[in-house]
């Protein structure tokens, strides 16, 4: 190795050691100032318990349990080569389900890619999610996006992309537009701890503060952006405190406590609807699985850490809560999970046997109308594959 390269390596090592010890991964997750209503044993603080109908509580539980099972089965499909990729949300189900459940049905959601729960709680079917994973002809995206880029026009869940944080200014723009049109709709956007390092986090937060946009920023701080812990994203003590700089309030909540997420979102939504502007919610949670089906988390975190977080599982906690409230019992819980699994397995089969979009579809939706150059490419493709070709 040339001398200068050796020096550079040394300098980098010194720098990394000097700046931050990556082993202090969860250092930031001091649970100070964190709202918790439901503890890890299912005990809850009666005085803080949000007023949620029994019917909605049961739907929330079903949505959360569905996300978990859906992931388990989809990861299996990925391992078998039946879908190309999967991005999990296990451990984070309370964040998307709890927050979306607190909104009105016509409020707008700008997801990242760990929020199938937001769609499910709005009534999207498991089958439709599988259409997305398989990219078949029933997929809203027409097979154009990698798995886990879920959206639904009908459910007011906006199309996500893979670049991080780009959806944040969109949510702000949508919220400003709704205000401009004198509508009471608000927008909520999901993003992770890593996204707070991106320029568009700043852009979106700053515009929202300046224009007092009716928007909720829901940061799922799961401790890692792929391999890098939150301490490598920011030297701030919390992510919530970033709201101060943009002139908006924030709340830190236990992201594995569905009641806390629900009640914080409800408060933020009320503020937004009253014209009091945006709120940042930092939900402290943990990704139990890998970043994606291509990730090996043992390279950057210890199993003991994962085990600690398994004890805080949001679904177990909600199950315990519902049992205390006598909304479910062991038997009905078992039946529910079985029912969910059956639905998932039959939906996967259905989606897998749905034909792929025809070759012509590749050239559609680039613009409203085909341009001459797309027409030329379309003709060439049809000549090669034949009209209506779906891959079979």
């Amino acid at each position: 190795m040339p001398d200068c390269q050796v020096k550079r390596c040394l300098a980098f090592k010194l720098l990394t050691v000097g700046v931050v010890d990556l082993n202090e991964t969860m250092e930031m997750k001091k649970e100070t100032g964190m709202l918790q209503i439901l503890d890890i044993d299912g005990n809850y603080r009666k005085e803080l318990e949000p007023d949620i109908s029994e019917e909605l509580l049961l739907r929330m539980y079903r949505a959360m349990a569905t996300v978990r099972k859906f992931e388990e089965i989809s990861m299996g499909l990925q391992r078998q080569g039946r879908i190309g990729f999967y991005i999990g949300a296990a451990g984070q189900e309370a964040c998307s389900v709890g927050s979306t459940a607190a909104l009105h049905r016509d409020d707008w959601i700008f997801p990242a890619y760990r929020e199938p729960g937001a769609l499910l709680i709005r009534g999207e079917t498991v089958l439709q999610l599988f259409h997305q994973l398989f990219g078949d002809s029933m997929d809203y995206n027409r097979g154009r996006q990698m798995p886990n880029h879920f959206n639904s026009r009908e459910k007011n869940v906006v199309t996500p992309s893979s670049p991080i944080a780009t959806q944040i200014p969109h949510a702000v723009g949508m919220a400003i537009a709704a205000k401009h049109m004198k509508k009471k709709q608000i927008a909520l956007t999901f993003f992770g701890d890593g996204a707070t390092s991106e320029n568009d986090f700043h852009s979106g937060m700053n515009f929202a503060g300046v224009f007092r946009a009716p928007v909720i920023f829901l940061c799922q701080n799961n401790g890692y952006a792929i391999s890098l812990p939150t301490v490598r994203q920011t030297a701030s003590e919390t992510l919530a405190q970033k709201a101060d700089a943009y002139g908006m309030p924030s709340e830190r909540v236990d992201g594995n406590d569905v009641l806390a997420v629900y009640s914080a979102t409800m408060r933020a939504a009320e503020r937004a609807r009253k014209g009091q502007g945006p709120t940042l919610i930092e939900a402290l949670t943990y990704r139990i699985g890998p970043h994606s089906s291509s990730d090996d988390p043992t390279k950057y975190r210890k199993n003991e850490e994962v085990d600690e977080w398994r004890k805080k599982d949001p679904i177990k906690r909600m199950s315990a809560y519902l049992k205390r409230k006598r909304l479910i019992d062991d038997e009905s819980d078992r039946k529910l999970i079985e029912d969910i699994e059956n639905e998932i397995r039959s939906s996967a089969k259905k989606a897998e046997s749905t034909p792929k979009p025809a070759i012509e579809s590749v050239f559609e939706n680039v613009y409203l109308e085909l341009t001459w150059n797309l027409r030329e490419e379309l003709d060439e493709a049809v000549q090669r594959y034949g009209p209506g070709y779906t891959g079979k």
Binding site: V158, A177, H180, N206, E364, V366, Y367, L368
Partner: protein, 324 residues
């Protein structure tokens, strides 16, 4: 009809569409109180109020990202980027988001935003107030790229862009803002996107250009005529989707093509036009396709005159083509 500069036509187009359609809003840096650094939005704030003419924070990525969100809701935002040289912080929002929303959502979501931005040199703006980076955007599927060169076309094309269902990058030739004027109809009219114009008919060589360079080309054609060379000047008006038919039928007639633009030559939009002519009309060509372009350097402050092709340089390329 009113005699208007290109700049006044741009303003008039926005005012006309804002009166016609309450979904049309304007946002950007200094577009409200100041009326824009070039005064393109002058008078709009007083006429339409702060909700429809939004002075934003100094953040291009935010301007385009927020405009995209507004368009997703159903508004028709016109976002101003003060100079094309400052569009790069918004590049991700334009290239990864705005241009791809229709495609990636299978057509269930659309974001018809117009991004207006002054481009090109001629105002002694140096590296950062002179750039012509249209090639990046013409290269991106899902964007339309429009570049008028006359007041009439500027108004008609801007109205078409605002009404278009797809995002449009609307490039305004800043050195023509106040230097060209002509009679422009009052009220709404459109000039179609995707249609070039024969700015001057000729038979010896096709001189293909857009934006401010069209004026230089017309002057060069006039000078060439004195030497007995008949130059056909094509004003592309839209770069994407390109009016290939007008280009090819002109080249088939003249047998020669020179493309004039002021962006750096290497990998430029002119290269795309040259390649298309080679692919589709090589049998008609009596000379190599030539490009007279800006230099493969950043734009320089003191030697701007050497950077931007002038009449003499364009003429020399015309002569090279016809004497081949």
């Amino acid at each position: 009809m009113t005699v208007r500069t290109l700049l006044q036509s741009v303003t008039d187009a926005m005012k006309t569409e804002m009166e016609n359609d309450e979904r049309v809003v304007v946002l950007g840096e200094d577009v409200g109180r100041d009326g824009g650094v070039f005064r393109a939005t002058e008078g709009l704030l007083d006429r339409f109020g702060v909700e429809r003419v939004m002075d934003t924070p100094l953040n291009e990525s935010g301007i385009i990202g927020v405009a995209t969100g507004m368009a997703l809701y159903g508004l028709r935002p016109i976002a101003e980027i003060q100079f094309m040289d400052f569009i790069y912080p918004a590049f991700d929002q334009i290239v990864s988001e705005l241009s791809k929303i229709r495609y990636r959502s299978g057509g269930t979501y659309t974001a018809p935003v117009v991004v207006r931005t002054p481009f090109g040199g001629g105002i002694k703006g140096g590296l950062y107030h002179s750039q012509s980076s249209e090639a990046y955007f013409a290269h991106t599927a899902g964007l339309k790229v429009v570049a008028p060169s006359t007041p009439y076309d500027a108004k008609g094309l801007l109205i078409s862009s605002i009404r278009d269902e797809d995002p449009v990058i609307f490039l305004e030739p800043k050195r023509l803002y106040r230097t060209v004027r002509e009679e422009v109809p009052d009220g709404a009219y459109t000039v179609p996107i995707g249609k070039a114009k024969i700015a001057r008919e000729g038979k010896d060589v096709s001189l293909i250009s857009y934006g401010a360079m069209v004026r230089t080309c017309l002057e060069a054609a006039e000078a060439a005529a004195k030497n007995g060379i008949s130059v056909e000047v094509i004003d592309l008006r839209t770069l994407s989707p390109l009016d290939i038919e007008t280009i090819i039928s002109s080249v088939q007639k003249t047998g020669r093509a020179v493309i004039a633009n002021e962006a750096p030559k290497f990998g430029s939009f002119a290269a795309e036009v040259a390649a298309l002519i080679a692919e589709k009309a090589i049998d008609s060509l009596g000379a190599p396709v030539l490009r007279v372009s800006g230099l493969d350097t950043p734009v320089t402050y003191i030697w701007e005159s050497a950077y931007i092709p002038d009449v003499q340089r364009v003429l020399s390329y015309i002569n090279r083509s016809v004497s081949y």
